[in-house]
């Protein structure tokens, strides 16, 4: 009998919602006291194991259990992928239910003409439930904005690298041939006396017409969209022209430095493409530079990289200026033209110099080194493959030592035997290491007797 009593006590606490799930008011105590004599305990005891909490918890409490995140958890980022509370009653109207009833005064007028409307049951509407579900799901579903691969930026759904289109027209002036791209989008903050930390979006954009005109602009606003618009429209007011060699690359290799950021830029042949930092690549695309290699060394702060690269581009010297400065012809030798000299520029205001001292290093006349400030870009050697650290590799090397260079030695001696005498194009032959050969001893220089 004791288990029964315990069972009834448990049931007593949950009973109200079993009877009346829509209300939260507990039953009167008179009813509770009468429970042991009622037939209910039997039923409750039998169904105790399969009782579901959906039936006796309020909607708010149920939702809270599924969606709430503690404050500590929120700080650790657990609130990021949180489910949102969904209104499951959306679309339900008072007076309309599963049974298709006409209730005058509730869902129908009391009188139609002069005749009072009768309360009646209409045939059930089979599509009612479907409509309800559809309305509930369609409105509440979170829709992710899909960006096509062509419109995507450098990474994921992020703004940097994405196009913003041309700047807004000023008066009648339209800028349709320009295009703006985001270089950086970040949140910055400052502290104020009254408000405290004020967060804003800082946005760096580049605009260009792909024919040499370009500009870079930075704008801040509390709203990201406003900041983007501000930056885009500010950029068109700061246009500058960048000269390009053959309309596709830079005039010469150069090095430029701003603070601790170094940029090494190399002139490249047609079809090379743009190789370098993604911001540099985007800037080049907007200017209309198609072939270039850039390497950033030192601090890679994006705003510094952009500033440094653009300053380097602006500081370039055209071939005409160079030839004027040095008083010499600037001549190009291309393999595609069998290295036939092609004069790019000749001095116009002065005669060409007749004497040049190329041996003494007083004056730099080597074109690739002219604008490098005496610096060389770091070319990292390739890391050796992992297996060279294994003991088996050392073993293999030891085993193979005996056959080292055999192939080349054989070829060399075969050629010497076959051709009898000095080889044609002797200087182009790979000469083996003679010290290791059993059949060719290093020749000693003949000693001449001293007089």
């Amino acid at each position: 009998m004791s288990f029964l009593l315990r069972a009834t006590a448990g049931v007593a606490a949950r009973l109200p919602r079993l009877i009346c799930p829509a209300t939260t008011t507990p039953l009167p105590s008179s009813l509770l006291s009468a429970l042991p004599n009622s037939p209910l305990p039997w039923i409750c005891a039998r169904h105790r194991g399969s009782m579901t909490f959906f039936a006796h918890l309020s909607q708010e409490r149920l939702w809270k259990s599924a969606t709430s995140v503690s404050n500590a958890g929120r700080k650790r980022g657990r609130a990021r992928g949180r489910k949102m509370v969904k209104n499951l009653n959306r679309g339900q109207v008072l007076g309309f239910g599963n049974t298709n009833m006409v209730w005058p005064g509730l869902n129908a007028p009391l009188f139609r003409g002069k005749e009072p409307v009768q309360q009646q049951q209409l045939p059930p509407d089979p599509s009612r439930k479907e409509k309800l579900y559809k309305m509930r799901d369609s409105i509440e579903k979170f829709r992710q904005v899909k960006v096509t691969p062509l419109e995507r930026g450098w990474s994921g759904n992020k703004m940097p690298g994405r196009s913003l289109g041309p700047p807004d027209p000023i008066g009648d002036e339209k800028f349709d041939e320009f295009d703006t791209k985001v270089l950086e989008m970040k949140q910055v903050a400052n502290m104020t006396g009254t408000v405290g930390r004020v967060r804003r979006f800082s946005i760096l954009v580049v605009t260009g017409n792909k024919k040499g005109l370009m500009s870079v602009a930075l704008a801040k606003a509390i709203d990201a969209r406003t900041a983007l618009r501000k930056a885009r429209n500010r950029s068109i007011k700061k246009l500058r022209f960048v000269e390009r060699f053959e309309g596709r690359t830079v005039f010469h290799d150069f090095h430029h430095q701003i603070d601790s950021t170094h940029v090494f830029v190399e002139r490249k042949p047609e079809g090379y493409g743009i190789v370098g930092h993604r911001a540099i690549k985007t800037i080049c695309e907007q200017i209309g530079i198609r072939d270039l290699h850039a390497k950033v060394e030192g601090r890679i702060n994006l705003q510094k990289v952009v500033k440094c690269f653009i300053a380097g581009l602006e500081a370039q010297e055209t071939h005409e200026q160079l030839s004027e400065r040095k008083g010499l012809h600037v001549v190009e030798f291309q393999q595609e033209h069998q290295a036939f000299p092609h004069v790019l520029a000749s001095p116009k205001t002065q005669p060409v110099r007749t004497e040049v001292d190329r041996v003494g290093d007083r004056e730099e006349l080597r074109f690739p080194q002219l604008y490098m400030d005496g610096r060389v870009r770091l070319r990292k050697p390739k890391n050796p493959p992992f297996y060279t650290k294994l003991p088996s590799w050392e073993k293999k090397l030891k085993e193979m030592e005996i056959t080292r260079n055999h192939r080349q030695i054989l070829e060399y001696h075969w050629l010497q035997r076959e051709l009898k005498g000095p080889l044609p194009l002797y200087q182009h032959l790979r000469e083996p290491d003679k010290g290791h050969l059993p059949f060719s001893k290093p020749t000693k220089p003949e000693m001449k007797p001293k007089k």
Partner: protein, 365 residues
């Protein structure tokens, strides 16, 4: 690297050549070096087919020194064309240098030395004669095998034309290999880069016509030079097709300053159809070239040559025009267009002279 197969001979200068290193098997690199002495070591073969005979009349005419110099004159040496843009294995960054006048001249002169090599004309030869020759017939070997056997001497350093190749037929006959077989086998054992063993599709009639419609004459001729020997009937046929298409459409500028111009001029002169080219030269105001072309014409067709020479040498100023008139009169065909072109040329000359006179008067006054 402990092991590796490296190319033994490195040709540092090969990229400078505008055409593949050797354009035919006869000019393989090895015999240009000191390997000639070795040809005495390998078994000497008896010259067969065309080689046994003296050079044909076509060859004789083409290789005359005077003809060669005239053809070279007519070819032209435009540096933009000779050193025009060509395909390279990998486009690298160009070199830029700062030069004085003297250094620039020197660099130019160095490169101009290569012009002769670039413009060296592929030889014009008569078609080769068949070279199959039965050596022995052995009926005992009949039905011995279902396929033919080919025996090739692959000694190092023998000229492809002299390499010994014989075929044992299924009926037991042992014979010398035909030219087609020789070409194939030479390509198998001593491949020339750019040459394919099978007949290239581009030379089939439909494709050839399509290529010529698009103006790929130069490329077709270059490819033919790599693929065929100069006395191969296919080579001669393809060259003639290309030359004729140029002559008919008056696209002479396509081949000017290239090594194929000589062959083209030799072709149109030897078939007696130089009118289109003469008109082209008159329109370009190139009277010197007209004289060269007519001289060439009278070397190859000697009828009326003496008269032509006397007219050319008699009048010192109007000589060339008179010689051209003589040519138009003496050549039996109707030369209406040529006549018109000459009159237009004369008219232009007259106008230019008048303008000069007016200018002289102005400067004097």
């Amino acid at each position: 690297m402990a092991f590796g197969v490296y190319p033994i001979i490195k040709l540092n200068w090969a990229w400078r050549l505008p055409f593949p290193t050797c354009y035919s098997a006869t000019s393989t690199r090895l015999w240009q070096t000191k390997l000639r002495q070795f040809s005495s070591d390998v078994p000497q073969t008896v010259p067969v087919g065309r080689e046994a005979k003296a050079a044909s009349s076509v060859e004789k005419a083409f290789f005359q020194p005077q003809v060669q110099s005239l053809l070279q004159n007519l070819t032209g040496r435009l540096t933009e064309k000779v050193f025009g843009r060509r395909q390279v294995a990998k486009i690298r960054t160009s070199h830029i240098r700062l030069l004085t006048d003297e250094e620039l001249d020197k660099a130019r002169r160095e490169k101009l030395k290569e012009v002769d090599m670039v413009l060296q004309m592929p030889p014009v030869m008569a078609e080769r004669q068949p070279c199959e020759e039965v050596i022995v017939e052995d009926p005992r070997l009949e039905e011995y095998n279902s396929s033919r056997h080919v025996f090739v001497d692959i000694t190092y350093g023998v000229k492809p034309r002299k390499r010994y190749m014989v075929v044992r037929e299924t009926n037991g006959t042992l014979r010398r290999a035909s030219w087609e077989e020789r070409d194939k086998l030479n390509q198998i054992y001593f491949p020339i880069s750019g040459r394919s063993i099978d007949f290239p599709l581009v030379f089939e009639d439909g494709n050839l016509k399509a290529a010529l419609d698009r103006g790929f004459h130069h490329n077709i001729l270059d490819r033919a030079c790599i693929q065929f020997e100069p006395d191969d009937p296919n080579f001669i046929r393809i060259c003639h097709t290309v030359y004729d298409s140029i002559n008919d459409n008056r696209n002479f500028s396509l081949l000017e300053s290239t090594r194929h111009m000589g062959g083209l001029i030799f072709r149109i002169v030897s078939i007696g159809k130089p009118e289109n080219y003469l008109i082209y030269l008159l329109q370009k105001d190139r009277m010197d070239s007209v004289v060269d072309l007519l001289t060439l014409h009278y070397i190859i067709h000697p009828e009326g040559a003496e008269e032509f020479a006397s007219i050319l040498s008699s009048n010192d100023d109007g000589g060339p025009l008179a010689a051209l008139k003589h040519f138009i009169k003496s050549s039996g065909q109707t030369q209406g267009n040529l006549q018109l072109a000459m009159q237009a040329y004369q008219e232009d000359q007259r106008q230019m002279q008048e303008e000069e006179r007016v200018e002289n008067r102005r400067s004097a006054g």
